[in-house]
Structures are given as C-alpha cells and as structure tokens.
Amino acid sequence: MSEYDLAVVGGGPAGAAAAIEAAGLGLRCLLFDEGSDAGGQVYRPPAFAAATGGPDAAAGAALRAGLAGSAVERAFGHRVWFAGPAAEAAGFELQAVGPEGNRRVTARALLAAAGTSERVFPCAGWTLPGVTGLAAATILLKSQKVLPGRRVVVAGCGPLLPLVAVGILELGGAVAALVDLNGPADWLAALPGLAARPDLALRGLGWLARLRRAGVPLYTRWGVRAVSGREAVEAVEIGPVEADWRPSRQRPALRIEADALCLGHGLLPASELTRLLGAAHAYRPEAGGWLPVLDEAGRTSLPLLYAAGDGARLLGAGAAPLAGRLAALAAARDLGRLSEAAFAQRAAPLRRRLRRAARFGTAMARLCTPRPGLVEGLGADAVACRCEELTRGELGAAIAAGAGSLAALKAATRCGMGPCGGRLCNATAHALLAAAGRSAAEIGAPSARPPLRPVPLAALTGSFDYADVPIRELSPR
C-alpha cells in the first residue's frame, strides 16, 4: 500500500493550497519543496526580518500559517529528482534529496505544482557577471536586500519590469533605463485582462508614477542589443525594435553606462515531472510553452496524475491556489474519497473564480509571448546555450545541416545537456528551430530524465568502502 494518498511537488500558492485542501478532505498528503518554507518564488519566505513588507509578504505569511495549521506532512529543503510508477503498489514512486539524504516515497496520486523558472532570451554579452534575470533581481531586492548594481538597466518584457525598477529605487539604486519590448499598444491590448484585477492594475500604475517622478528614462518597443565589459557589465547597448521584436535598422542604438543589467522575457513553466511520467503535452506559447494537456480540474492524460499553478499554465499567482484546490478535489474524487455530487458542488465556485483570476494572469503572460524577431536578430557570436557555451552560429550550423528537433540539436551540439538541464536554452533552441521553419510538432518537447534537478552523487550512493563493493569473479576463458 502506498504511504500517501497524494504527493504534491511544489509548495508555492498552487501546491500549498492543494495540500491544505487535500488534507482537509482526509487525504494523507505529503508536500515537497526545495525552499526552507512554503510560498514559492512569488511568496518567497523572507531571508531575514528586514526583508519584509508589501501585499505579497502578507499573502505568503497567510499561506504558511494555513499550512502550519493543517495535517499536511511537509518536506522542505527537498529536491525531487525522480518520479515513476511504484513497483510495489499502485501509484507513484518519488525520490528526493533533502537535509537527511535521499528519501523514497510512494503515493497513490501525484500533483505537479513546480512553478516556473525564468525565460531569458540571449543577447551579445549576456553571460557577463552583473547580468541577472528579472526574477533573480526580485529575489536579490525583496528577499536579500541587495541591489543588482548601483546603476542598472532593466529590460525585457512583462510586469516584472516596473516591479524590479521600483525595487531598485526603493533600495537607493539608480535605474539608468527601463527598456520594454512592448509598446503602449501592446499594454492597451492587455487592458481588458488587467480590469479583472483592479487592485493589481492600480499597483502597476503606482509603480509607473514612481518611476516617472524619479525621472527614469522609459524606452518602449526597444530592446537590448549587446552588453559589454571586461570582467563584468560596463555598458548596455539598446535600440528600437520592430513589431516582431527584431532590432530595427532605421534608428541608431544608444549606449548606456551601467554596472548591471536585469533582463527577462517571462516565465517558463516547469513541466519536467509530467513530461518524465509520459503525460500528453501540447505547445501553447501564450501560456508558457510545452504544457501538460489538462481537463478543467487539472487532470493530466494519465490516471491520478494532476498539474496546477504556473507550472501547468501561466495564469498567475491569483489563479494558482484555485487551480490547486480544484486538482485536490479531483484527486479526492478519483481516489473515491469524495462523491461526484460533493465534487461538483465544491468545484463549481472554484472554477468560476479561476476563470476570472485567469484573465489577469493570461493578459500578463501574453505580454511575454515570444515573438520571432527576438532570436532572429541575434548575432552569430552570441552565446545561446550558457552551460555548454554554444553560440547562435554553432546552433544555426547544426540546424542548417539538418537538425530539425530539440533532440537532434542536442545530439549534434550538446545544447541542453549542461547542468541547467536545458532550462536556460530550450526556449532559445525552440525559437531558432521555429525560425528555420520547423513546426512545434517537429521540434518536440524537451525530454525530461532523472535526475530532474542536480543532486550530489554522495546523497544517492551513501558512504561506502571500495573493499566492500562486491565484484563478481571473472568467468574462465
């Protein structure tokens, strides 16, 4: 028999809400998270007392209090690196490395709620120290109280741009330029979705007013051309872009002296777990890329496997707990712990609220849907895969020679085989293949293999003496 009814991977707003809901329905529930506490990246627990404040901090504190008052068994500081069908019982086997070493558990049902990493498309010089992701900058600013630099260029797309710029000002840094790939027309198109969350829309307007008061130069429909410096960032070259985000040829570029660049192009759902288990996935660029195919309650194509939150599709932190609770209800229903009538009664109001909350998150995600010019304008010498230090030219040559899928490109160049597990280059490789005329079906989803995250070998092997390793006798010749 499985040890748990439900294992949840990811303790952000989706996973934590799902775990609380499931435990409330009497399910034995285990929650894994890599962090020291629940909250995920959006409600990241503050590293120290000085690093608090804001509506997100309150939401995070409420989520952690809710979890502490529940019957959910929590496994923080655990990296889930393996998932598969359990050998000894119906359900799933998970392995995770935590503070006490490797842990193997079985669960009848599994919810993937692993959230996102950040998508950053390359530019010349983006590997220099001093270039960070926008999400990285929010962690430095909010959780660590460290400025990315004294004079920072903030560039890319989406709602993290003004958030990071204001964060820098609040800590006493200077924002040399705010460079947004989107123009006023793109933001206007997002307005109907923004109206679904007037509180957040107002917060955004407040940020813009703060930036204007501080005299931060704002460049819309502009992008980063190149970063330069010897040992770290010294200057950032920016210039206007066309509607497809290709660098515009007509107007000259501007060189800005800066010691840091915060660059980001939206979020990348972490769908490794459902991909590893073999659930059906579809390519939906407007919702984050390769995503598990889900029904209205978060059921994947595989029995008793569920997905929720931004790791399943980019709907935002407001939608995540609702999707998580729906998935928990579905799991309870599918495990026979909830009648169909009780499920329908509880799910209906959650679905209504989810649809409304999703309008805001979807509008934000659309501001970051990649456009083809972003990589097509990339120079041949720019590094495209950081871990293996492969340039756009090297990847382009392999694509021209016939590599037509992520798997073929990986086999030809090692793109995606470094320690990041392809999280930093798969989106770029996909875009380069698409630019060469390949369809999403040809390109394919990145293959997920264990270990899903880097884990120390010693945690898996334990300590041993070579003398104790059994060696079979050689067979006679």
Partner: protein, 90 residues
C-alpha cells in the same frame, strides 16, 4: 551594496578574504553585496560568470562551501563559513 539596516552580522571567508554578511543572507547575495560577482568560469572560454538566476537553475554561482560544491544562491551564510572558488580542471 547591501542596504544598511537591522540584522545580526556574521563573518565568513571567501578565498581567504574575511567578509561580513547579514544573518539569513545567501552566500551568493553576501558576495554580490561585497562586490564579488564573478564566481565561476565559462566551460570553454574561461570567461567570468556570476549569479544569473538566483534560484538554483543556472549553476553559474557554484562554489565550494565548507568543501562541498553547492549553488551559493541557495545556501545561507553561517558564522565562520569557508567559501572558495573551485579549482578549474586543466
């Protein structure tokens, strides 16, 4: 570049240099605040690399912390911690 404020101060060493951090800060953030941003080297060119994702994905902040290779953005500073850049294989 750490903002002055409350918080207990801790000392740790980085490649033999004694540095100060606020209790709770990650090793990567404390080093960043002290002006050390180039922590790793690129695999082919040997060009400098620094913390990029701050959430345990990019591996560009990998350091030896008390002798164990870890993502320095994901480990909090403790008093007396010995942090070193790993030696690059020839």
């Amino acid at each position: 570049m750490t903002v002055p404020g409350p918080g207990r101060r801790l000392r740790f060493t980085f490649d033999g240099v004694s540095l100060e951090a606020i209790a709770g800060q990650s090793v990567a953030a404390a080093l960043w605040a002290a002006g050390f941003r180039a922590l790793a080297r690129a695999p082919r060119s040997g060009a400098p690399r620094g913390p990029f994702c701050a959430m345990g994905v990019c591996q560009d902040c990998l350091l030896l912390v008390d002798g164990v290779a870890v993502e320095s953005c994901r480990v909090a500073v403790r008093e007396g911690l010995v942090v070193e850049r790993p030696e690059r294989p020839a």
